[in-house]
């Protein structure tokens, strides 16, 4: 049971980290011999999420105190199932099947705007009460990061025993197999370059000298909580300060008007580019850049983009928010910085000027990414499924 895998109109399939997670989990369940059906908010339509796997919709989209009790109740009334999996933990309020699991994709209430949605102490308390019930109902809660476990334990000490930490995964084949030096374009991928060619030296920020510029990538959904504004400001400051730096913003807005506006903005700046690509084209982009920015302000689990940047062997500059601290050890396999523009500018400058440090952090990141393989994720999940669903 989920909120939106498809857009509620049933037409457009959403495609982000959560959706990829849902598809991989469905594949695992099928491989383990479960018969799977999905339920979500919608006009009553039925689609297929994968061949032979239906996704049905329920006409209930009322939302109160950040929960969807009517959807929960309708699901329990209509779905004739043995086990339930609440894809977003709050969906388990007010009721959960005895043999059920819920997933927490990370803390999403850690930004000032959330305060506005629950403006009074009473609202906040009611939300907390409902979250407690949602966490208490299912037999286990799978958490994609340790930050959520820590939040649960510091809010309701002792409840943490319900949570199992299973970090997100990265496709090492796609992102890691050709991880080589930074800056390779498709034509330069190993095996395709002429033998005996000396690799071009990696660029140093502030020392143009004819080579290609230092390339910086922002590979996220184009929303505020992902640190878009900070990244855009850093791009303005640094492209004005240095001749040989390039920023690539790669991802979609939720709104086409904003996309047009951002395209105009990028077009009016030297060395700032904005475009978007299907997921299968992303490995190339990671290979072509020197630095990957994950400058989220909040609402962060074990980010797939961060893992992809790591798997590609790039040095990652991430903020010390949510699950990002489960992926990066500052100074070992990337940088962890506070979520502010100034810190971002400084970190980009520091790494831009030190190709050797970039290589070291990137190589360590590539090694660390191997601990987050899809196989390991499937093993960890299989264990939890067996524990909860075995009769």
């Amino acid at each position: 049971m989920t909120t939106n895998h498809y857009h509620p109109d049933g037409e457009r399939q959403l495609y982000g980290g959560a959706e990829r997670y849902g598809l991989e989990l469905t594949r695992l369940l099928l491989d383990l011999g479960y018969e799977v059906e999905w339920w979500q908010v919608g006009e009553g339509w039925v689609r297929e999420i994968l061949p032979g796997v239906p996704i049905r919709s329920i006409r209930e989209n009322s939302f109160s105190y950040q929960t969807m009790p009517a959807l929960n109740q309708a699901f329990h009334a209509r779905a004739n199932v043995d086990y339930a999996l609440y894809f977003v933990a709050f969906l388990a309020y007010p009721e959960a099947l005895p043999r059920s699991l819920a997933i927490s994709h990370g803390i999403y209430w850690d930004y000032p705007g959330f305060d506005v949605t629950l403006a009074t102490d009473n609202d906040r308390e009611e939300w907390r009460r409902r979250m407690l019930l949602a966490l208490a109902g299912p037999r286990r809660i799978v958490s994609v990061d340790t930050a959520t476990i820590q939040w649960v334990n510091s809010s309701w000490p002792g409840l943490g025993h319900k949570l199992v930490y299973i970090p997100n995964f990265v496709d090492l084949q796609a992102f890691g197999s050709q991880a080589g030096r930074a800056g390779q374009t498709a034509a330069e991928v190993p095996g395709e370059a002429a033998e005996g060619d000396e690799p071009a030296p990696e660029p140093i920020l502030g020392q143009p000298g004819g080579g290609r510029p230092v390339r910086v990538l922002f590979p996220r959904r184009m929303v505020q909580v992902r640190g878009l504004n900070e990244a855009a400001r850093a791009a303005e400051v640094l492209t004005a300060r240095y001749e040989n730096i390039e920023f690539h913003f790669v991802g979609r807005f939720h709104d086409e008007g904003l996309e047009k506006e951002f395209l105009r903005w990028a077009g009016s700046h030297r060395n700032i580019y904005y475009y978007w690509l299907p997921p299968h084209a992303m490995p190339r982009v990671y290979r072509a850049v020197d630095l990957v920015l994950i400058p989220s302000r909040s609402t962060e689990g074990t980010s797939l983009s961060c893992l992809e940047g790591m798997a590609a062997g790039r040095s990652v500059i991430a903020t010390w928010v949510g699950g990002l601290t489960d992926l990066i050890i500052d100074g070992f396999n990337g940088r962890l910085i506070p979520p502010d523009g100034q810190a971002l500018v400084e970190a980009i400058e520091e790494l831009g000027k030190q190709p050797a440090l970039r290589r070291q952090l990137g190589e360590n990141a590539r090694q660390v990414a191997r601990a987050f393989s899809l196989e390991r994720w499937r093993q960890r999940w299989s264990q939890v499924l067996e524990e909860v669903f075995t009769p």
Partner: protein, 388 residues
């Protein structure tokens, strides 16, 4: 006459360390805070400050610890609040650095730096009133301080998920390890599994003993080593007697090692277990085990998750006996995995948690908050109050 005093003592700084020495001032309290305070005081001195420690105490006293004066605040015997207030008396122009936040109502000196050593209220059975109080004490420090330095990201994450606008004041500086003192030993053929913690229920000793009972009868080539404190000799003795009654007593050793002897203890071990239940920052024990090249098995609790990336440089588990037994069994059976985790743990300790890195980060925040000692004229120094 302030100016003359300032030339002599212009670089004075009071450092609040709640319990550096015991309440009667007779002996240092060994533990993480002591290791932290030592390096912080040395760093302050190297920056030109003359740091003096102020702490809770049973009576007013003045002692010396490693060349630093330590003032006992005797009013603590009436109430911690009163002892805390003594630290602010008669020195309005002396800057104060709080090496720990206060767990009671407090007025911090405006513009000061306050340290948090992690979330401490995240354990089963902590009463709701204590949790509310914990948030209150954290909020009080965050509202008043110029900067709050946290030794882990979890305190920061918890604050952000509770009061996002307060989190901006937090800077994270993880703890450090001396990678010259703690170095890998030769892996012998005997598998030694070490528990290097204080006898404190929060540290999960019971889980370690449950794992020992489950594993030792099945693995005769394995031995368990407990290195504990001797702060409460009766407790240590009780544990010793209990161990002597177990059928696997020949495979267990209990030692009470001094801080100086710890590198040698770690060198004997291939696997180190940190099964904490709650209240963890970036644990010195974990960092020392990593620097010693041990395969670390730690709970996914508090700041431990900031040191270990599970499956890369150690294993993270929920604090449950079944999970611990399973993980240890895997490590016992797979020497290659043990060696790999240990090698990477050492590398992470060297590259990310060196003392030098810690000093660089602290130097920056100290200078940001307090300036340089010689810059502090009366107009800066007096911001905590009017001349008295």
């Amino acid at each position: 006459m302030r100016a003359g005093e300032r030339t002599q003592a212009g670089a004075r700084m009071r450092v609040f360390v709640p319990n550096l020495l015991s309440w009667d001032g007779s002996a240092p309290v060994t533990g993480g805070l002591e290791r932290f305070a030592r390096q912080l005081l040395r760093l302050l001195r190297s920056l030109g400050w003359q740091p003096e420690v102020w702490q809770y105490a049973a009576a007013d006293w003045l002692k010396e610890w490693e060349g630093f004066p330590v003032h006992g605040c005797g009013l603590s015997a009436i109430a911690l609040e009163a002892g805390f207030q003594q630290l602010h008396q008669g020195g309005a122009d002396v800057p104060i650095l709080y090496a720990s936040l206060a767990f009671h109502p407090a007025r911090y000196q405006p513009g000061s730096l306050v340290m948090s050593h992690g979330v401490w209220w995240d354990g089963a059975g902590v009463p709701a009133e204590q949790i509310r109080a914990a948030f209150r004490w954290a909020e009080q420090a965050l509202a008043q301080a110029r900067l709050v330095v946290s030794c882990d990201y979890n305190f920061l994450n918890v604050v952000r998920s509770w009061q996002p606008d307060l989190a901006g004041k937090i800077r994270v500086i993880p703890n450090f390890v001396d990678t010259d003192a703690f170095v890998p030993g030769d892996a012998g053929s005997q598998v030694v599994i070490l528990y290097p913690r204080r006898l404190d229920e929060r540290r999960g000793l019971q889980l370690f003993l449950q794992a020992a009972a489950a594993l030792l009868p099945r693995f005769p080539q394995v031995s368990f080593l407990l290195s504990v404190d001797d702060n409460h000799p009766a407790e240590t003795e009780k544990l010793r007697r209990w161990l002597a009654d177990q059928p696997w007593r020949e495979q267990v050793e209990l030692v009470t090692a001094s801080m100086e002897a710890m590198p040698e203890v770690y060198r004997r071990a291939q696997i180190v277990v940190l099964p904490s239940l709650y209240s963890e920052g970036t644990s010195f024990s974990c960092l020392e085990a990593m620097a010693s090249g041990c395969a670390v098995v730690a709970s996914d609790v508090g700041g431990l998750t900031n040191l270990i990336l599970s499956g890369y440089n150690g294993l993270l588990l929920p604090p449950r006996a079944s999970a611990l037994v399973e993980a240890l069994e895997q490590l016992i059976r797979e020497p290659d995995l043990r060696a790999r985790l240990g090698r990477r743990a050492r590398q992470v300790a060297e590259e990310a948690f060196s003392l030098q890195r810690w000093e660089d980060q602290w130097r920056r925040v100290i200078t940001q908050v307090y300036g340089r000692p010689l810059d502090r004229g009366p107009q800066h120094g007096a911001e905590g109050g009017t001349g008295r």
